[in-house]
């Protein structure tokens, strides 16, 4: 498969340009994404993403909720990684209010965030492989994701939208024995990862479908604002956990896997490595959970002083940023803005698919790992 640059203009006589709508009802657009593809034969010459089908106005809505209630709304953005959304929001508010979070809570938050990354990557792996036709991996990955959901359920009672953090700490301490279960899950997951890799990593068809598909250079990826695995796949060492450490990440050891070629296969490998790094992080964090309180000193009425801040964390999808403005008077934010990683990554889709074939479009939608709830908010 040679990657030829999109032709500047098709010859004026060309007549078989075909415009097809992929989505919003399409099995592999991962929700209600609609991609208007302009095709020359099977080759994509232009793509336009139409989003907003599940725009719920979460930003506007949040401006009318009090600070604690918003945690619940953040669950609904990236609904496959609700805990990291909670984490990003709570940390932003803590930054605004300059609240010190106890160390135990920070460790637990790290455990939750990394478990969430495993769950989110499981979902990504399953759907991505399914898009490329490997249906068994989907069920395997969902099976393991189920274990993570069980852990979350035991921790906070919910399986999808956890509402699992509070400003200043955590609402609940972990149930007894939970840490053991987490550790045994880590052991299990490591074995299962080898299963996935057996099915995919050296599979010739998988290689053919992903190698050199959607190649993007590091500079271009930075310019396009890609974040998370798509950015690291192009070899840019950018991970918020390392660059601007939060929670307990500065006390834990982990590597940031980087790609070299910036193609779909690299992004796949990176996420597979991130599974392992997450497991490593979870192990370290669980083993290192200190004793102590789980809530910091938080005023009864949460009312940050007037001011604004932008705070980012590394969600499974990439840099999840919150820009929050408080007017210092009311008990709700004056402006609540989310910088959704899926949104910014989806922006790169047009660049990625141009010049590729229709079948690659689904592979590329899969590789950027979007959740439409987060794109549309």
């Amino acid at each position: 498969m040679t990657l030829e640059a999109p032709r500047a203009s098709t010859t004026q006589f060309d007549t078989d340009e075909l415009v097809i709508n992929m989505g919003p009802q399409h099995p592999s657009t991962h929700g209600v994404l609609r991609v208007v593809l302009k095709l020359d034969g099977e080759r994509v010459i232009d793509a336009d993403c139409v989003i907003g089908y599940i725009h719920r106005g979460i930003e506007k809505l949040s401006e009318n909720r009090d600070w604690t209630q918003i945690i619940l709304l953040t669950d609904r953005m990236d609904y496959v990684a609700a805990a990291t959304n909670n984490l990003g929001y709570c940390q932003t508010v803590e930054k605004l209010m300059q609240i010190e979070v106890p160390r135990r809570a920070r460790y637990l938050r790290t455990v939750l965030a990394e478990l969430q990354r495993i769950a989110s990557h499981c979902l990504w792996l399953g759907t991505h492989a399914m898009d490329i036709g490997a249906m068994t991996v989907l069920l395997y990955a969902f099976r393991e994701r189920e274990f993570v959901l069980d852990l979350f359920e035991e921790f906070c009672g919910a399986r999808l939208t956890y509402n699992s953090m509070r400003i200043g700490g955590l609402p609940l301490d972990i149930p007894p024995g939970w840490d053991k279960k987490v550790l045994s899950f880590c052991d299990l997951m490591e074995g299962k990862l080898n299963d996935y890799e057996t099915l995919l990593t050296n599979n010739r068809i998988w290689l053919k479908r992903t190698r050199d598909v959607g190649v993007i250079s590091g500079d271009e990826a930075i310019g396009l604002g890609l974040c998370g695995p798509p950015l690291r796949g192009s070899g840019v060492p950018r991970d918020v956990r390392k660059d601007e450490p939060y929670a307990a990440y500065d006390e834990l050891e982990f590597n940031v896997p980087l790609g070299t070629r910036g193609d779909t296969y690299d992004r796949y490998l990176i996420r597979m490595d991130e599974f392992r790094e997450s497991i490593r992080l979870v192990r370290q964090a669980v083993e290192g959970i200190p004793e102590g309180p789980i809530m910091g000193k938080v005023p009864r009425l949460i009312k940050p002083p007037a001011g604004e801040t932008y705070h980012a964390i590394e969600s499974p999808k990439g840099e999840l940023g919150y820009f929050i403005v408080s007017d210092g008077k009311s008990t709700n934010p004056y402006r609540f803005r989310v910088r959704p990683p899926s949104f910014c990554n989806l922006q790169g889709l047009k660049r990625l698919v141009t010049g590729h074939l229709v079948a690659d479009v689904v592979a590329l939608i899969g590789t950027i790992d979007i959740v439409l709830g987060e794109v549309d908010r």
Partner: protein, 332 residues
């Protein structure tokens, strides 16, 4: 009268019913095998271990509303599933299930060519189905499918020629007899040809990893996106009947049809207590199992890669195999 009309008719009725029932259970088998591969149970609700699912599925399909899109070409839309199913069933006219004339409908001296040519007609069902739906995705899928079928047909035919070269007959019964006389299944004589025919067969039946014509994640449903109810089930039947056909061809050409393993080895003669048709059907189902197993394991090729595989790998290898077979035939 009895010999010329009643017996063949009775055979046709039995054969058609057997094929159709086999297809429904093949669907169940596929669901079960894939479920086990994916650590699931598969259908469990209808009957013990979901066995009656094989009956429930067709009933559901037949009872469903049969929708014709308003802008579809109505006649062609109805004709397409029939054109797709009929060739798949016609092929069974020459498939020998056993050594005696009792086990087959007819043994014509161009049997293999007959199978090849009749299956090549099946492509019309797919093209016309996609075209008559008057919808973009099915049209794209049907163009893909027909190009795929025609390309792989060349490779398969070319490979089968090398088998014909070994046997010197086009009659299917003759081919099996040749294997009995040679004492070896052709799988051992023509291993390359076996691989080529099997891969080509996967592609010709639109099975994974070549299931592009119905790649639901890319083209939503393939050429039968607009079909529902009875007409859809005809396409469905055709696909699975084609699987059986390809398995039957592979078994006849390379695995000795109804012969037991190593038919001339006296030590294995005790295997003769198994009737020939059981051997034949057993081998067919073994291959169907491999079909399903592959589907559960492999991702899907991309269209251009599939064509490249067909034209740049399979066809050259098939020609090379043919040349080598020819040279060996002359030399030995």
């Amino acid at each position: 009268m009895l010999e010329t009309i009643v017996v063949p008719l009775a055979k046709i009725v039995v054969l058609l019913n057997a094929v159709l029932v086999a297809v429904t259970f093949l669907v169940l088998m596929e669901r079960k095998v894939i479920a086990w591969a994916q650590s699931r149970l598969g259908p469990m609700r209808v009957g013990p271990y979901g066995i009656l699912q094989a009956i429930a599925d067709p009933i559901k399909l037949i009872l469903k509303e049969d929708i014709t899109p308003r802008k579809a070409d109505k006649y062609v839309f109805t004709l397409a599933p029939i054109m797709s199913l009929v060739p798949a069933l016609v092929v069974f006219a020459v498939v020998p299930f056993g050594p005696d004339p009792f086990y087959y409908l007819s043994d014509i001296n161009v049997g293999l060519l007959f199978i090849i040519s009749v299956t090549s007609i099946g492509v019309y069902g797919i093209i016309l189905g996609g075209w008559a739906s008057n919808s973009k995705y099915p049209l794209l899928a049907s163009l893909r499918a027909s190009a795929q079928l025609i390309s792989y047909e060349i490779a398969v035919t070319m490979t089968l020629v090398s088998v014909i070269l070994t046997t010197g007959t086009l009659s299917l019964v003759g081919i099996v007899e040749a294997q009995r006389e040679g004492g070896l299944w052709f799988a051992f004589v023509q291993p390359v040809a076996l691989m080529l025919v099997f891969i080509g067969g996967l592609a010709e039946t639109n099975r994974a990893p070549f299931d592009l014509p119905e790649a639901e994640t890319e083209l939503t449903g393939g050429f039968h996106t607009e079909y529902s109810g009875m007409r859809f089930s005809l396409f469905f039947l055709a696909e699975y009947a084609n699987m059986i056909v390809i398995s039957a061809i592979v078994v006849i050409m390379f695995f000795g049809g109804w012969l037991q393993p190593f038919p001339n080895v006296p030590a294995l003669a005790f295997l003769g207590f198994v009737p020939p048709w059981i051997w034949f059907i057993g081998k067919i189902f073994l291959f169907l199992y491999v079909f399903i197993w592959i589907r559960a394991t492999l991702p899907r090729y991309r269209y251009d890669q599939l064509m490249a595989l067909g034209w740049k790998v399979l066809i050259p290898v098939a020609i090379g195999n043919l040349v080598v077979t020819g040279i060996l035939k002359v030399a030995l």
